[in-house]
Symmetry: C2
């Protein structure tokens, strides 16, 4: 598609072109139903096939056993900040939280609003969240350890997951979900707003282990209970059908076109290495995240001054590269290079950055 | 489109064909952005134009003044069953509920789960919800009166709204929102899951008056507070962009193609009259809702026996008419004839029903 741009948005973000083309081509008549996917009943065989295929593919890609339930919720990761403590801390127990930036901070805030006795066991706030804390001591009696695996705004990411002993981790994986294989052995729950790596905005995937589901009390509102969704295959009420359909197609693309999460990981590392190596070799651009804590998804960097940063973003758009402005809370520049962003886009970006430095440096 | 069927689904349901065509045609490159609407940032000028246009059109169509805020939430009407009592009954006050079927019953249940002291002031449960209660006495000190304006499953609808005196009404309008003009004078809040009359599943529109917003306490989770959405133009976190975009296009179709809610109402009455008059004149089909309480949106009816009903639904599908099976909880047949279902579809249905009676009656 000649008129498409390279999309470096942080989310909503680029989706695989073959997925978009399939949605477009079947949009007036989905799977021979004579209806759009937006018009098909969620209680139909057509939609059952969609949601069950999305679940099965996710299970295969992540090598999940039957302890795990795959749910589709609404309200984004922000709703999970509220739901996790509501569902798992009803008996007065505490949970440990690691604070690595804006989203962790919000998760902590929503637990505290509910007066849950949580503990912040590590934080990188002392250095403006430019690194991932290591060697953390966890409380053995915590119901869970909460962490954000990738920090979209600060451009940091856990290289590997911490050792939480017997305490299950709950991980906000919104911005690196399905970008690499995951060791599930100590994970009790993963949640991920779809709009970075797996679909459009409007659906949040939740992968929850049976023992956490067993903690859910029955005196909370139905729509805030993980049990409601687990007991109904996410169809207690009408689910966000179009968003789930898009996820199904993205999972199919991951399995059949990419070839699984190991291969996706290799591609993502190649893209990130190209960009970080270029930035580190440059005296003009400067990466903001510390080595060892850098995100493979969101590459945050600065130019010598803010005026140059503005010009950089504007010139990039003229060159058909969008979404390079940093988050409004931190400024600077950011290239989000999620699964659907190809190596060609990163190569073009590096060429542009080289050229921009020559003319402006 | 020769391969499309007449869609009588109860929701997700038919959408206007020109809306679907516009989505399809711009799906790889929205408004010259070089991105799909599913890939565009919600913090971009492109999406600001979408959400603000959807809001302005809704305000014009419903003739709303500046007391009302228009919000886009997730979780469907079911999440509103939980949020309304949480937001408006924090000071220990009570609310009145009218029970007219499955959805009202769930709204009542979710208020009771939260131990809110609500009162059911009227119910049509005595006659299996086949009518709308009239001459109801309301409690003058109630914070609000809750009702479901149209009952998708039982096929009933309030012909006109009750007189609640000075107590504001909160109305679940999921299945008749934007199908006719609304007298807003006593309405404090309307909510509507989009997937019947205005869009795809995955977004719930909320219209809330300032005085109700003033009741919202500040010690509830952010994503459960109407104030959060009102203070951020529904963008505290990433909203369901694709669903809001579809709503924008449906509102544009209502304004520019249909010509407003009076004209939409006339069309809907013509369709419903045609179908009810045919059923009432028949000795074969039997409408289940009482005259005076009948829904213009969901026409529920029975055939002489369940075997014939099964054959009827199957033969209808062969004749390219889908979604005629009644809700699994009540059985029978149901033709949902929302805004996007044309008079041609209803005429074809009546022809088919005439023919079916001849060959089976």
């Amino acid at each position: 598609m000649q008129d498409r741009i390279h999309n470096f948005n942080a989310g909503p973000a680029a989706l695989p072109l073959p997925v978009l083309e399939e949605i477009r081509d079947s949009f007036l008549n989905f799977a021979g139903s004579g209806m759009s996917i937006t018009e098909v009943s969620h209680r139909s065989k057509w939609f059952d096939d969609v949601i069950n295929d999305a679940i099965e593919r996710t299970k295969r890609l992540l090598k999940l056993d039957d302890q795990y339930h795959i749910l589709f919720l609404q309200g984004g990761a922000s709703m999970q900040f509220c739901m996790a403590p509501l569902n798992f801390l009803s008996d007065g127990r505490s949970a440990d939280y690691i604070n690595t930036g804006t989203w962790s901070t919000k998760a902590i805030k929503e637990a505290k609003i509910q007066k849950k006795p949580i503990k912040v066991v590590a934080s990188s706030e002392d250095k403006n969240f430019c690194y991932i804390p290591k060697n953390i001591s966890f409380n053995k009696d915590a119901a869970y350890v909460h962490l954000t695996s990738n920090n979209t705004i600060k451009g940091t990411q856990f290289e590997s997951l911490p050792d939480t002993g017997t305490v299950p981790m709950i991980i906000d994986m919104s911005s690196d979900f399905m970008s690499r294989p995951v060791d599930m052995s100590k994970i009790g729950m993963i949640y991920a707003g779809a709009q970075k790596n797996i679909g459009p905005a409007g659906v949040c995937m939740v992968i929850i282990r049976q023992d956490l589901l067993d903690l859910v009390p029955d005196n909370i509102p139905s729509m805030l209970s993980y049990a409601t969704f687990a007991n109904t295959n996410s169809m207690y009420n009408t689910p966000p059908c179009f968003a789930i359909y898009t996820i199904q197609l993205v999972m199919k693309w991951l399995e059949e076109t990419i070839g699984g999460l190991e291969k996706m990981d290799a591609r993502n590392r190649e893209k990130a290495d190209l960009l970080y190596n270029f930035i580190d070799a440059s005296g003009f651009y400067r990466a903001t995240a510390e080595p060892g804590s850098r995100s493979l998804m969101n590459v945050t960097f600065r130019l010598p001054d803010e005026t140059l940063e503005k010009t950089f973003v504007a010139k990039a758009i003229e060159n058909k590269m969008g979404g390079l402005k940093g988050h409004r809370s931190v400024g600077g520049c950011r290239a989000s290079i999620y699964n659907a962003t190809g190596i060609d886009a990163v190569k073009d970006l590096v060429s542009f950055m080289t050229q921009f430095e020559k003319t402006s440096g």
